[in-house]
């Protein structure tokens, strides 16, 4: 099918605008996530959101509410899990499996058709409505403004916690605020793209961008560009092939770009 003809379809326009907004947020959040050694949290939060959605469906309320409640609750727990990456990862994993156990519990007790819950695992990017697009755009903007508001102290505290604490930067507050922003982004993004794609967008572009530039502003800019490119190409490829999922294309693109840039970076550091 002709590509330009495809672009006239409303569902494709909706998918493109919503996922571009999500991708920008995810790339910015992902940059800090990696800097703070919280990649695992980026993987855990979408899964926890799945459990929250299952709980919401069980209690007969909107899945969004469950998503937000669970991810924000978990994010606050993560922020208090300790500074050592080693210990924190284990704690994140245990919290995640506990939430998944809860999700399993809700699904086992729920006798109805839990289609919306499964949609959260695998994503429904090509079937989102106009209102969902507007909501996504607005909340992405709010998240980006939130990050911008704490940008400098957040960067400072990510780079070196001790010197930041000595200068009077509120470390704890920043850790909580950042993780809550991450949770909000994940909750919004999960409904659009599915939990898998959220993680890919959080980690892939930012990891690649970090191999090219040590300057935060340049790396964040590059990460956003990469994320936008991945989702646009991924959605178009999925629309053309019709049967293959968007998340597969985005994950493959992000892995395919990451590996060579990572290997190139290795060579660069050798030469010095």
């Amino acid at each position: 099918m002709d590509l330009f003809e495809l672009l006239h379809y409303a569902f494709l326009q909706n998918a493109l605008s919503a996922s571009c907004a999500v991708a920008a947020c995810a790339a910015v959040i992902g940059y800090f996530l990696i800097g703070r050694g919280l990649t695992f949290a980026g993987h855990a939060l979408p899964n926890i959101g799945f459990a929250g959605a299952a709980g919401a469906v069980f209690f007969g309320i909107a899945p969004v509410l469950g998503l937000f409640a669970f991810t924000i609750g978990a994010a606050i727990v993560f922020a208090f899990l300790g500074k050592e990456v080693h210990e924190r990862d284990l704690g994140i994993g245990v919290v995640m499996t506990f939430c998944l156990g809860l999700g399993l519990f809700f699904l086992a007790l729920y006798s109805g058709y839990a289609e919306r819950v499964y949609g959260i695992l695998f994503g429904t990017i090509l079937g989102i409505s106009d209102t969902e697009v507007h909501l996504t755009l607005i909340s992405s903007l709010v998240t980006l403004v939130g990050i911008a508001a704490i940008y400098r102290p957040l960067l400072f505290s990510s780079a070196g916690t001790e010197s930041a604490a000595a200068r009077g930067v509120p470390i704890r507050f920043l850790a909580v605020a950042f993780l809550v922003l991450t949770a909000a982004t994940v909750s919004l993004a999960v409904q659009v793209t599915g939990s898998l794609l959220v993680f890919t967008l959080l980690v892939g572009p930012a990891a690649t961008a970090r191999t090219f530039s040590r300057r935060p502003s340049a790396a964040i800019g590059l990460a956003v560009l990469l994320a936008e490119a991945y989702v646009v190409v991924g959605i178009l490829l999925a629309a053309i092939t019709k049967t293959l999922p968007v998340s597969f294309f985005v994950a493959s693109l992000s892995f395919g770009v990451y590996v060579p840039s990572r290997l190139l970076q290795k060579r660069k550091t050798w030469k010095r």
């Binding site: 990649t39 245990v94 995640m96 499996t97 156990g101 399993l104 892939g204 998340s247 990572r262």
Partner: protein, 289 residues
């Protein structure tokens, strides 16, 4: 009650569960020492891609999962010799594997006409549906892994706790790193078959993590991990079979008890450190790091 205990479903669940618990706790202890939590969680999700891929090709899920996990482990090892603290590479391999899993799942549901939600069953496997033949394969893999672990116990412990002195003393740390990742992959595949992808990580991480918090003596901690793992699994199986809520799957109990035990161990550890004088606490931290 006697009838249930004599039934084949209960026997298989009990035997498979105990096997998984011992295997997970033993391998999990070294996983905790090596700080491979994220890699281990990634391996369970990579199993998802393996399971869906083998469903597409018409293979037994076991071999597809084992193949893909080993491939992932070798990739991870090649990307970085020490995985500790570098979780970005793990994340990248994980997201790619999940992408493949979703691809396989969608291809499978297109070709077989089933809905994508059938993949959810792969995510939450069950002890209740273990067949005798599968159990035989799982036992075989578990025994091999445990034998290798027993044979390399001392050098593996040394290399996990203090890699640089182990290397200086001539312990082949790099070979052990790879070997351990392979053991971890095999363990993951076995436990996925038993309690499902999303919860396999609970049995690998929580008993060992709690035991590591309770005592610093490696022998004692190893033993404690085994006992905790068995305790969690047995009480889960017992409640699932004889508990008042028959619709609740074993995985729910296992995940809840795991989190509870790890949480309690964490609290106890925090409390113990707080109750000592500052200087002592400082020394302790240095020794641990």
């Amino acid at each position: 009650m006697e009838e249930i205990i004599k039934s084949e479903i209960f026997r298989n669940a009990f035997f498979g569960g105990s096997l998984t618990a011992v295997l997970c706790a033993a391998v999990g202890y070294f996983m905790v020492l090596r700080a491979l939590a994220f890699a281990s969680e990634a391996l369970t999700d990579i199993g998802f891609a393996g399971a869906t891929g083998s469903a597409l090709l018409g293979l037994t899920p076991f071999w597809g999962m084992l193949g893909l996990s080993l491939l992932a482990v070798l990739t991870l090892g090649a990307l970085r010799d020490r995985l500790k603290g570098r979780d970005v590479e793990v994340g990248m391999v994980l997201s790619f594997a999940l992408g493949l899993g979703v691809l396989f799942l969608s291809l499978y549901s297109h070709s077989s006409g089933t809905h994508a939600s059938s993949g959810v069953r792969i995510l939450f496997g069950s002890l209740m549906s273990l067949s005798g033949s599968l159990l035989l394969v799982l036992t075989l893999v578990a025994v091999i892994v445990l034998l290798i672990l027993a044979a390399t116990f001392r050098p593996l412990l040394f290399a996990s706790v203090d890699p640089s002195s182990a290397r200086a003393k001539g312990v082949p740390t790099k070979a052990l790193d790879y070997a351990f990742l392979v053991l971890l992959a095999a363990t993951t595949v076995v436990s996925i078959q038993a309690i499902g992808i999303l919860l396999a990580f609970a049995l690998i991480s929580a008993p060992a993590g709690a035991a590591h918090k309770l005592t610093r003596n490696p022998g004692l901690a190893f033993l404690a991990a085994l006992l905790l793992g068995l305790g969690i699994t047995w009480s889960g199986i017992f409640l699932a079979f004889f508990g008042p809520w028959s619709r609740i799957p074993v995985g729910v109990y296992i995940a809840t008890f795991s989190a509870l035990i790890y949480g309690l161990a964490l609290l106890r550890d925090r409390f113990r450190i707080r109750s000592r004088p500052e200087a002592c606490r400082h020394n302790e931290r240095e020794i641990h790091e």
